[in-house]
């Protein structure tokens, strides 16, 4: 169905966990996604790269139905997700999908009226019914993993961009998701802070998390991703192993795009 160009040693790959089939998305007359097929296997890390406005955020937002695709379907564990929050079959409701597929937004969207700790415990307590003490213990563990234990009682407005993003990662991870969707914005972060965030993401990758990452850090994408997708004007123009896509691009537009980052 698609060009499988997996690195050696992953031949024993598990089933397709999250899958997009023929996704199209229009906003009014503007068609932003023009038929996207994408499969995320368990444990796989896919990096999405492409120029600003190419539809990276829109695609990643379709993967957890934050945007309802105009056409095409999203499959989770092989089952096509419906259009309702709660479906007759519990495993195909949008709510169920989102409980198992975490998301970190381009603009973080932390809850400003809640402390860092409350931001992280909100999902488990409210959605999963986890007892508060248990949720807090897990949250503190996650906060220490992202290096923010000392900020547990701070409010998001008092955090730097990099710190906000790490809290957003901890908030998503608190739900113990099977897949993490990470939209790393263009210039939302101070370059100095990017390093801290990337270290956190790398740890997740090393732990075997299944991820789709939108990133502008080419070197990082080349480093952590199993597969890189180049999106341009709403279509996947090239995809494959990082070596082939980023280190030796063949496609003209891809070459032009990548060269901008390798000065």
């Amino acid at each position: 169905m698609m060009i499988e160009q997996e690195p050696e040693g992953t031949a024993m790959r598990a089933e397709a966990l999250l899958e997009a089939r023929g996704i199209r998305k229009s906003f009014g007359a503007l068609e932003v996604l023009k038929g996207i097929d994408l499969t995320l296997a368990r444990g796989e890390v896919v990096a999405l790269i492409g120029p600003s406005g190419s539809g990276k955020s829109t695609l990643i937002r379709c993967l957890n139905m934050m945007e309802i695709p105009t056409a095409g379907t999203i499959h989770f564990h092989g089952k096509s997700i419906g259009r309702k929050f709660r479906d007759a079959d519990d495993s195909t409701g949008i709510g169920t999908l989102r409980r198992h597929v975490g998301m970190v937004f381009q603009h973080f969207n932390l809850f400003p009226h809640k402390t860092v700790l409350e931001n992280v415990t909100e999902g488990p307590i409210v959605v999963c019914g986890t007892p508060r003490a248990e949720a807090e213990a897990h949250a503190l563990d996650l906060l220490s993993q992202v290096g923010l234990s000392q900020k547990r009682d701070a409010y998001p407005n008092h955090l730097s961009g990099g710190q906000k993003q790490r809290v957003a990662i901890a908030r998503a991870m608190a739900m113990r998701p099977e897949v993490l969707l990470l939209d790393e914005g263009t210039s939302a972060l101070d370059p100095e802070l990017v390093g801290e965030v990337l270290a956190v993401i790398r740890r997740l990758v090393d732990d075997g998390m299944t991820m789709a990452i939108v990133t502008h850090e080419m070197a990082f994408a080349a480093d952590v991703a199993d597969r890189v997708l180049f999106l341009d004007e709403g279509a996947i123009v090239a995809q494959g192993a990082p070596d082939e896509i980023i280190r030796s691009p063949s496609n003209e537009r891809l070459k032009a795009f990548v060269s901008r980052f390798n000065h």
Binding site: F85, R98, F105, H113, G123, V127
Partner: protein, 220 residues
Amino acid sequence: MYKWNFDVLWQYWDLFLYGLWLTVVYTAGSIAFGVVIGLITCGARLSGWKSLSVIARVYQEIFRCTPLLVQLLWFYYAFPLLVGGSIDNRVAAMLTLSLYVGAFYAEIFRGGILSIDRGQREAAAAIGMSPMQAMTRIVMPQALKRMLPSFINQSVIQFKNTSLVSVISVADLAYMAAVVNGQTYRPLESYTVMALLYIAVLFPLTQIADLIERRLRVSD
């Protein structure tokens, strides 16, 4: 030079007190009903259901674009003819006041909710919250904080507006002041006492409102 004489009013203190009591009752009652009406109207406007939203909008515009005095007269004198029968003046007063303030509250609630960034609802949805959970746990707490100053302001205005029910003979403070004036022929004293009583209630309330507003601004 006019000679003030408040002494003659003393024997009517119970009338003033009773009037003030009714003013408080009509204010508090209409605020309570108004909040319910406002929430329902706001829900209808934001429901995304076209016909419901249009009905809510029509109601709001009717009550926001006619004077409260006109509404009181209409509900007391005109409405009974429409439905056949009569309406108790106290019922007409409470009904009109509630519908009036409800229309304004709905707009305050709606503005507060719409002022919250869409990303907040999305972040709530992304951790699996239902639209209802996202509304009550994430959007509403933030919106309430933003709408509180306008809400208090509208409620203070409502307290003053209540004086209009005297035109349909509801014995509120303004009505009682007129009664006392009729008995004593002392308009200056009667109406001054009335004004002072309004101030006695509203001045502390506006001070508290200012305090709350300042507190909220600090925590942002």
